[in-house]
Every structure is written in C-alpha cells, then in structure tokens.
Symmetry: C2
Subunit: 301 residues, 2 copies
C-alpha cells in the first residue's frame, strides 16, 4: 500500500467523465440573454471552476457495474455535482467560511456579488432535483423518485447542511473523536456516499449489492476526508490552490490534530483496505472504484 502507485489510468478516466459532464452542463444550462442570465452565469462559473468532479465519477463508476446508460449516469452525475457546487458557493460566503479563493480563482461572491452567490447556490440545489426528476434521467419513475430521495437525505439537515452547522459550532467547543467523525460523515461523507448509492439506484442493484457499495463509500469517504485534513496540515497554499492550515488557525480539531499525522495516515490506510474489501463481490468490474479509494489517500492535492 505504501509503494508509489500509478494513477494515470484513473486520471484519464476522471478526465473523460469530467469532459462529458462539461458537455452535459452546456446542454442543460445555456446562458439566457435576459437579466436573469446573471444567475445562470454564476451557476456555470461555479460548475466550471476546475474541480475534479469526483462525485459524478463515483456515480458513473458505480452505475457501470450494472450496465447503466451513459446518459442516465451523466445526468444524475450532473445533479450531484450541482449539489456539491452549491455547497461550496454557500460555504465560501462571508457569513460562513469567508473564502476569497477556491482552486486559485475568485469565489463566486467575489467574481459576482454576495446576493448573486446566494441565489446561484439556491438555483444549483434546485436544479439538481429538476434534473433527477426528469424523464430523460431514467425511464422508471421509481428510480427517479429514489434518486431524489437519496440526494435530498444526504444534502439536508440530517446530512451535509447539518454537518456544516456542526462545523460552525465546532469553533466554540472541544470535539471528541466521535464528534469529529460524525461531523465529517455528515458534512462531506454523506454526499460521497449518495453519489455511489445513486449509481446503485440507477442500476437497480440488489439490496445486498447496494449495502456493500454504501459501506465501500462510507469507508472511502472518511479516508478521503482524513487525507484532505493531512493535505491541509502539510501542503502549501500554492500546491493546493486555496488557503491551507485554516483548520489549525481557526482552532478547529480534525482527526489529524487529534491523532497526529502518522496515526491519521495509518487509519486512512486501514479505512481504504476496508473500503476495498466491500468491492470483492464485484470482481474486476470494480477496478475504477478500487483505484479511487487508493487515489484518495495517495493524492498530492
């Protein structure tokens, strides 16, 4: 596990999905010419900000296990990316994390203005559900309703938004290991898990297969978050394209500050092994999902 790995195949596959997703957004979200076009411009700015588009990739790689059509995967992936992007736009706002840069570029409220950023976030979140409930995403209405349900549960007050609330409250209190894990699982884990689960929903996976994939995503998501905290603690702002060391500066406990870097790295490896164990039943078809789990903890940015 500690040898240097070659992720060029994975990176090419990530690039392919990202490129196809860009075309999907271009088709779904053309810029209108009237005054309300400004909110669409801001939505597109957020969606084309240079992210890895990991969640749509996970959704696609999972759906691929079951032979789901590319159109269905890309549309559902576009929806999950809209939710992820909205969360970044709102998290960056002055009243929240107050970030001026993301991936080296001005955040939406800096490039546009605060009101437009709030509205663009709202519109991205809403658009996600419009996409998921549309017949073009899947012919079976039961699948569409389930996609909406999985995405909404992961994103709302029991999930991502609740996690962000916990994160804001964390600046004023001492968190235990259990608190931090719960926070991470809600704030970032839930949406990663939902991406994989939506792939399983599209594929009409058996309950058993769906549970295995969710378990994979839970373990992988937490490993991913620990790796992110390790990068925040050790990488420079230049390498990351955003401010680093922010957690420490804000006095926020992370699993890395709690365990120390070496132990955190070890736990991330253990979680990755666990994640891989859940993929056994899918054989060679799950190779990309395996590589994602390894990439999560070995990436440099």
């Amino acid at each position: 596990m500690t040898m240097v790995q070659d992720f060029s195949g994975l990176e090419a596959a990530l690039g392919d999905v990202s490129h196809a997703l860009g075309e999907t957004f271009d088709a779904l979200l053309p810029v209108p010419e009237s005054d309300d076009g400004r909110v669409v411009e801001a939505m597109r700015y957020a969606l084309f900000a240079g992210g890895k588009r990991l969640r749509p990739f996970l959704l696609r790689a999972t759906a691929d296990l079951f032979g789901v059509s590319l159109t269905s995967s890309l549309r559902a992936g576009a929806a999950i990316e809209c939710i992820h992007s909205y969360s970044l736009v709102h998290d960056d706002l002055p009243a929240m994390d107050d970030d001026d840069l993301r991936r080296g570029k001005p955040t939406v409220h800096k490039a546009f203005d605060e009101a437009t950023a709030i509205l663009a976030g709202d519109a991205l979140l809403t658009f996600a559900f419009e996409i998921l409930s549309d017949e073009s995403t899947h012919a079976d209405p039961r699948v569409r309703a389930q996609l909406v349900s999985v995405a909404a549960r992961a994103s709302g007050h029991h999930g991502m938004v609740g996690g962000q609330m916990l994160d804001l409250a964390a600046e004023h209190k001492q968190l235990t290991e259990r608190d931090i894990i719960r926070l991470q699982q809600m704030k970032t884990g839930a949406l990663i898990v939902s991406a994989v689960e939506m792939g399983a929903v599209l594929g009409k996976a058996s309950t058993h297969a769906r549970h295995a994939l969710v378990a994979y995503a839970r373990a992988m998501g937490l490993a991913f978050q620990i790796a992110d905290d390790l990068l925040d603690a050790t990488a420079s702002a230049d390498e990351m394209g955003k401010a680093t060391g922010k957690d420490a500066a804000a006095g926020k406990a992370t699993l890395v500050s709690l365990w120390g870097e070496d132990a955190a790295r070890e736990k991330a490896e253990i979680l990755t092994d666990q994640a891989l164990s859940y993929l056994k039943e899918f054989g060679s078809k799950a190779e990309l999902l395996r590589e994602v789990a390894q990439f999560a903890i070995h990436r440099r940015r």
Copy 2:
C-alpha cells in the same frame, strides 16, 4: 365584485389547513438534541412565523377536487411551504433585501445569525424534495417524481430564483410593463401556480383539468401580486407587520406605480374574473378556490 364580502368561511378553512400543517411539521421536524439542532430550530422558526400558509391551502383545495387523501395533501403542502419559507429567509438576508422584521418578528438572521439563516434556508429547500420523494407522500412513484419536477421547475433559475435575480437587477434599470409581469410571474407567481399544479398531480387530473387549474392559478397569482403591491403602496407598516413603501423607497417600479392605484385595482379585478372563469367546469367543488381568488384582492393585509 366591489361589495364587502364575508370571508369568514374561507378564513376558517385556511386556519384548519394551517393548524393541520403545524402538526405535520411537528411530526416531520422534531428538534434534535445535538449541536446541529440549531439549524432545525431555525427551520422551525421560519415555518412557524405566522404566515397564512396560502400555498399549502391552494394545494389542498385543488387536491380536494379529486378526492386526494389528507395525508398526501398535507405532506405535499408542507413541502411547498418549506420552499416558500426558505425563499423568505434568503430574501431577508443582509446581502439581499436586508429586512430585520417579517410579520412583526425578527427575521431568521436576526433571531439566529446569518450563517444559520443561510443554512436553514438551504435545509428547508432540500427538505421539501425529501418530503415529496418519500413514499408516504404518495404510493405512486410517477406522482412523486412529477411533484418534484413541478416544484423544482417553479423554484429554480427559470422560476422563483430567476425572478429574485430580476428583482435585484430592477433597482438599476427602467422596467416595462412586460418586464414587471415576467418578474412577478417568476418571483411569486410560479410557486403559487406550482401549489395548484401539485394538487392536480396528486389527483391525477386529466391534462385538460390540469391546464385549466394552472390557468386559474396564473391569473389569480398575478392579481394577488398586484393586491400585494397596492397594500405596500397604501397600508401602514403597523397594519402589515413589516416595512411598507419599500418598493417606492428603492425606486422599484411595480404595476401599481406604472398604472396608478385605480387602474391597478381594476386590472386585478379583471384577472380575478378570468381566474374564476377557469373554474367553471369544477362546479361547486371549487368554491374554496373561488373564494381564495376573491380574498386575494379584497384582503386588508
């Protein structure tokens, strides 16, 4: 149409739906005891802020034409009220309309804080789609997917959010009659129309009946907005429980400022007559929808 009308029956019916909706929210959204409970408290604060809950009422009154169960109507009504409430929470933010009071009470960012208000709005919007996609709302997944689709289209960048964007841009430009009508139909009309349309979706209405109900809601919604602008222009802050005369102070054109009060009142009456004409085919079953249309233009607050 100009005689004083007795709306006591309608007001009692509105009160009944509002009360039942309160119980629905209590069941759907109990306050958890952990730190993320704060966002749920803020969601509840917004939902229990004393609004008329007109949109759930419209949904219920429409669904009643087709004998839809009370549970389905109330759950879908709760969802539409979550969307309406989120829009008010975000519209009141300092970066948007910057309002300290709504219905005589501190707005969410005043009672809590700005970050919590942003998150509570996000969570309310998300929760709407969680409710609509849940099997308890309707047994038929096609109905659930359609409810999501109708609500999302009405609320996003082609609808409510786009209208709010137009409204923000309106402070810097001269609007024509056509611009203002488009703005109003997106900003407030679309969600009112969607409430009625969701009632029709729940009732599996024929395409013809659904179109008639949507046409009713479009005309009624615009009349309602003109009446709102008339109240803003003529009522005192004390009567309204919120700041009035704000449109004029912000130099925003409304149909009232464009047409004058008398002509605006007359157009609202004409729109109401149009709205009523679309209800003919539903006979006496549509009495509450008729009364809503008349109440919209005759109310005093």
